[in-house]
């Protein structure tokens, strides 16, 4: 399991090219900055279509939207065939490229335990094309393709729980992180980088445009997500060992996370309560899993 990097040990150098072409308050841009600070030079960055976050000062490659998993596989196998396993195949994909159109390929790469590191910046919709529904969209969120109307309450489906789904494949390392907890995020990047086999880091990266909140509040929104238990920070090793990295004495109510975001403003008290109950229940399960050091489904 990772060990948080104390602030004085965070590298001063920046490895992304600024200014980028992101929107104000872009969570993904923050995730890119933190990730590439600690990941080191010996990587090949992989991209599939997504929001332009930050261009990193690394060699980079990419593929078709649905091709993230195979693209990483090809790089990793070529590096092995050429005797350059010191170089790591690293992905920096969005939630659509990971949980939705790209899911099959990434899951197959995980199932083969390819030596690749998937980093996902999760902003819970296709923000690059205007905020359409993805597998990462949470229940009741209004997206461009889950409009609220007399016959619709926004997104009808639950958010894809990628870490738990991938845990079932027994891959070496899975973790969640948030831009509001940078020491934890950087520690996980650093730790996962040198593990051999399939690694995945899912980063909560709020999107002020798509989630419709004040761009100055990105960190506050991300922090409320973690503190309310909606985006718990945890690690799973070999599909079995479980560790919660952030355990507040008491969870904050999910309204602290939902209220600043206009995508949830149509939610009724009953609906909010439904999500609150599910979140609390899931949190209790995570606490039990943490105590047992084991994944509990």
């Amino acid at each position: 399991m990772s060990k948080p990097i104390p602030r004085p040990q965070v590298p001063m150098e920046e490895r992304v090219i600024t200014p980028g072409s992101t929107c104000q308050g872009c969570g993904a841009a923050m995730a890119a900055r933190l990730t590439f600070k600690v990941i080191g030079p010996n990587i090949i960055r992989h991209g599939v279509p997504c929001c332009p976050d930050q261009t990193s000062m690394t060699p980079s490659t990419g593929s078709v939207f649905e091709g993230g998993g195979p693209c990483l596989t090809g790089t990793s196998r070529a590096l092995k065939a050429l005797g350059r396993t010191d170089i790591k195949a690293v992905a920096f994909f969005g939630d659509g490229g990971t949980y939705d159109i790209g899911l099959g390929g990434i899951m197959a790469a995980a199932q083969r335990n390819e030596n690749v590191f998937v980093i996902t910046k999760d902003n819970e919709a296709y923000m690059n094309t205007g905020g359409q529904h993805s597998g990462g969209s949470p229940k009741y969120a209004e997206t461009a393709t889950d409009p609220v109307g007399p016959a619709s309450r926004g997104n009808p489906s639950n958010k894809f729980q990628a870490a738990l789904a991938f845990a079932a494949l027994g891959v070496p390392y899975l973790a969640t992180a948030s831009v509001a907890f940078p020491e934890d995020l950087m520690a996980k990047v650093k730790y996962a980088k040198d593990i051999i086999g399939f690694r995945m880091l899912l980063i909560a990266t709020p999107c002020p445009v798509g989630w419709r909140f004040d761009p100055a509040k990105t960190i506050e929104v991300a922090r409320a997500g973690v503190q309310s238990g909606l985006w718990p920070l945890y690690e799973i090793e070999n599909g079995t060992t479980f560790k919660l990295n952030y355990k507040p004495k008491e969870l904050k109510p999910i309204t602290e996370y939902l209220k600043p975001q206009a995508r949830f403003r149509h939610m009724t008290e009953t609906e909010i309560n439904e999500i609150q109950v599910a979140t609390t229940k899931r949190w209790e399960k995570f606490l039990k899993a943490d105590e047992a050091n084991q994944v509990l489904l």
């Binding site: 010996n42 195979p70 990483l72 070529a78 390929g105």
Partner: protein
């Protein structure tokens, strides 16, 4: 010369990969390509090719992405498929070609309306920017796969090459095949080096492919297509050079690489054919000459680039051309027929007859080609061909 071995077409293909020292292969099994994947897996398991990576992947689309990605990093890569598998690859094939990634792919023909062979699979990928070569026998598979790496990786080309051969009749038919010496092939085909390194510590590192850069720049959207088209067209020179070198080195000749002419000297008319049916067509030509009917055969080996220069020269020597297409685009017709008519329009005026047959594995017999030849002779006499398509 090397060793002779009796092997099926699919094995000749796998042996060619070994000779070319392919580093990464990824494929998904589909009839009639399946046994290539088995032979490649056996080669990997035998340990006789240290460092060779064979990826048992989850489908053809990922297979295409894997080999394209591996080649960009610097590993010589190979994939293979058939019919529906090729259709599933459609999207990333465009990216492989646009990224100028020189991989080689065997397409073991399986029609899109049945499991039996015709050329509808590879013909459906004409706009993908690949080079399309069609071969006739197991020896030609082996030779062409090895040569295709040299063509694809030539800096004047840098395009992926698809080598098409008919499923079942060739993929699963055993023939004696000569395996050239590895040392000769190593001299012919040097190790692959990508145009720009993706290794952070390589001073020549170009950082690989950059995404996103350039959108919104003031640039001409036609440029990339112009370059792509001219590379594909210009591949004709490289194909001819490489086949000439192979002939010198190995002693086997396939015409000039673009087309292979058979008994066209002094012929009144010629027929064209691609793939295995060219063998039956050649047998028909012999019978026709025996009966005093001067019919030659042009085996089209390269469909993309289309052998325009060769056909312009051939057309000047004959009074009619009978094109045999083994696929048809509904609403348009036979692709070789149309490519040939376009080539000769305003250049050479001879009747061009467009025969279509052998679809979904329908057998094309020597007698069928005798009829094609006789009809073409009649069209020469009448100075006019029947309307296209003429079904065989």
């Amino acid at each position: 010369m090397g060793d002779y071995e009796v092997m099926v077409g699919n094995k000749a293909c796998a042996v060619a990969c070994k000779l070319a020292r392919v580093k990464v292969a990824a494929a998904f099994p589909i009839t009639p390509q399946t046994t290539i994947t088995e032979y490649l897996a056996e080669i990997a398991a035998s340990g006789e090719m240290p460092g060779f990576e064979f990826v048992n992947c989850e489908g053809e689309l990922p297979a295409q992405v894997i080999v394209s990605s591996a080649a960009r990093v610097g590993a010589r890569s190979f994939t293979c498929t058939s019919g529906p598998g090729l259709l599933y690859m459609h999207h990333p094939m465009q990216e492989t070609a646009s990224g100028r990634v020189p991989i080689v792919m065997a397409v073991v023909h399986r029609g899109v309306k049945s499991m039996q062979p015709d050329h509808s699979d590879l013909m459906s990928q004409q706009w993908q920017g690949w080079l399309h070569l069609y071969v006739e026998n197991a020896q030609e598979i082996l030779d062409t796969i090895v040569m295709s790496y040299k063509i694809a990786e030539d800096k004047r080309v840098r395009l992926p090459v698809a080598v098409g051969y008919d499923g079942y009749v060739l993929s699963y038919t055993a023939e004696p095949v000569d395996i050239p010496d590895q040392a000769i092939i190593d001299g012919f085909l040097p190790p692959y080096k990508p145009p720009s390194s993706m290794f952070y510590d390589d001073p020549e590192s170009g950082g690989g492919r950059r995404r996103g850069g350039g959108d919104g720049e003031d640039r001409d959207g036609n440029t990339a297509w112009k370059i792509h088209h001219s590379a594909a067209e210009g591949a004709e020179t490289v194909i001819k050079e490489v086949f000439a070198e192979w002939n010198k080195l190995i002693g086997r000749k396939y015409g000039n690489g673009m087309v292979e002419e058979y008994r066209t000297d002094g012929a009144d008319v010629v027929m064209t054919a691609m793939g295995t049916v060219a063998g039956s067509a050649a047998a028909a030509v012999d019978k026709l000459w025996k009966d005093g009917k001067k019919v030659g055969l042009v085996k089209v080996r390269s469909f993309l680039p289309f052998p325009r220069n060769d056909f312009k020269a051939i057309a000047k020597k004959v009074q009619a051309i009978g094109v045999f297409d083994r696929s048809i685009q509904p609403g348009m017709g036979g692709p070789v027929y149309h490519a040939l008519r376009t080539t000769l329009y305003d250049e050479v005026h001879v009747p061009i007859a467009g025969f279509v047959g052998g679809l979904s594995g329908k057998e094309v017999k020597v007698d069928d080609f005798i009829k094609v030849g006789e009809k073409t002779l009649a069209y020469a006499k009448a100075k006019k061909a029947d309307a296209h398509p003429i079904w065989v």
